[in-house]
């Protein structure tokens, strides 16, 4: 593969970056959160829950910040001319960038996951391997999705400040996604949405899980066996506990059962794959057809 040296170079850049290891430390420190609700929800698999907690907050911002300058940075400094002078097609350059950055950030996330696993092992004992491996794999797919989005933004924008603003906008939209969805749902259907007692609406719940963050949480909650929701696992457990009222959208609470077939957690894999393919396709289209410099 002629593009592998470029991918290795990208990976090395990420792995030797201080930001990558600050992200790793943040995920570990934020993720380690022993709670009574968490233990009641999943027992010793709380260790796996630590990964979900740490990754949910810091990985989206961290991975986007570590990827959004990959092309636009080279464009603004002029080093992209040398890159395009290599005997590689533009698609191969893009592929090498995505692969290298994904491997670099993925390596840091694997380190964070194993540090949390060791801490959890010492504190709570051995956890189940199936949810752990499933969550690790889901996290790596989540990394690749975020890198694809970051590189897509880096490709389609022409100024660093525009790219940074777009990243900021993406983070804000995903942060307030449930509010955005419920507002639109109420405007379209006229049905008010009370998160304490959400309506049993398939389209509403489907829309809530269309972001990469939401799909990741649905998938990892499925591995942990707590319920079908985009919320963190201990919130899902609390929502489903009898006699407790929490403002969270949980399929089992709203539908009194598993809900429509298209809300099955496996569908979240498809959502993540779409978020991987669409930004990559868009980036390739723009990078190969436009004026790269």
């Amino acid at each position: 593969m002629r593009w592998s040296p470029l991918a290795r170079s990208e990976c090395r850049k990420v792995v030797t970056s201080k930001g990558t290891w600050i992200l790793t430390v943040f995920i570990v420190l934020w993720g380690f959160r022993p709670t009574y609700a968490g233990w009641d929800a999943v027992g010793r698999n709380l260790t796996v829950g630590y990964v979900q907690i740490g990754v949910s907050l810091f990985l989206p911002v961290g991975a986007l910040l570590l990827s959004y300058q990959s092309l636009i940075g080279e464009r603004t400094t002029g080093s992209l001319k040398f890159l395009l002078g290599l005997p590689l097609t533009r698609t191969q350059v893009l592929w090498a960038k995505v692969t290298g950055r994904t491997l670099g950030i993925g390596a840091a996330i694997v380190v964070a996951t194993f540090v949390l696993a060791v801490i959890g092992l010492l504190n709570h004992g051995m956890f189940d391997m199936l949810p752990f491996v499933g969550t690790l794999l889901a996290t790596l797919v989540f990394v690749s999705v975020l890198v694809a989005i970051g590189i897509c933004i880096s490709t389609v924008t022409h100024r660093t400040v525009t790219a940074a603003t777009t990243i900021f906008g993406y983070v804000l939209v995903t942060l307030f996604w449930s509010q955005i969805v419920t507002t639109i749902y109420t405007a379209v259907t006229g049905v008010p949405v009370d998160p304490y007692d959400a309506p049993a609406s398939g389209p509403l719940f489907l829309a809530l899980r269309l972001t990469p963050d939401g799909a990741y949480n649905v998938l990892t909650n499925w591995f942990l066996g707590v319920g079908n929701s985009t919320e963190l696992f201990h919130i899902v457990y609390t929502k489903l506990a009898p006699g407790v009222s929490v403002n969270a959208f949980v399929v089992e609470a709203a539908f009194g059962g598993p809900g429509p077939w298209y809300l099955h957690p496996v569908g979240s894999i498809l959502v993540l794959l779409v978020w991987l393919a669409v930004p990559l396709g868009l980036a390739r289209r723009v990078f190969t057809r436009g004026d790269a410099i």
């Binding site: 600050i22 430390v25 420190l29 934020w30 959160r33 022993p34 233990w39 506990a241």
Partner: protein, 196 residues
């Protein structure tokens, strides 16, 4: 602010928050029982001192008839102590927050309905009366969950339902069964890599 300062401040903030974001765990350090009334004596023992996310602390209360005659003990819900709680005052009033003590015996009877945290709890109003022979002892184990506590400090065992305290009868008169059990509770420090 320079970028280096910003990153350092952010890192220190997260480091400072780590561990604080987890729930507080407690350790019961001492249990002292005194002021038992009449022929009945109450003693307490800590069976499990740590109240952590993995398990509740456990204490065992023992009632002994130290008198010369058999005594009839009347309780509500479960015999002989009834449904108990801990409170920050030895004489809690209606305003004092009480943290329910759980017992396996609640599950063995349909006289007590208890939910986790004591948020919803009900008790049958029919008393249970049983005799306690001379020198006879009866022990009951109670659990204290850490997430039901709001802070460390000194707590006292109290009845969970006002007006439903246990009573005892020697001759023909029923008397209030008064005793005081004090529990010292401290916050358990959490070191991420602590060994068990």
């Amino acid at each position: 602010m320079k970028r280096r300062d910003f990153v350092a401040a952010g890192t220190l903030s997260v480091v400072g928050l780590s561990g604080c974001l987890g729930d507080t765990e407690y350790r019961l350090t001492e249990i002292v029982a005194d002021d038992s009334a009449g022929p009945l004596s109450v003693s307490g023992r800590l069976a499990v001192t740590d109240s952590t996310i993995e398990h509740p602390a456990e204490l065992v209360l023992t009632l002994e008839n130290t008198g010369d005659e058999p005594v009839r003990v009347r309780s509500y819900g479960v015999w002989p102590f009834g449904v108990l709680a801990v409170a920050s005052s030895p004489t809690p009033d209606d305003e004092t927050w009480k943290t329910t003590l759980f017992s396996q015996s609640y599950e063995a009877t349909d006289r007590v309905e208890a939910s986790r945290g004591g948020a919803s709890m009900s008790m049958d109003g029919t008393p249970i009366t049983k005799p306690l022979g001379v020198g006879e002892t009866v022990s009951r184990r109670y659990e204290l969950r850490g997430d039901d506590l709001s802070r460390a400090g000194t707590y006292y065992v109290a009845e969970r339902f006002d007006g439903r305290a246990s009573q005892f009868q020697t001759d023909n008169d029923w008397e209030m069964f008064t005793y005081r059990v004090r529990i010292e509770i401290e916050q358990k420090t959490r070191v991420p890599l602590q060994q068990r």
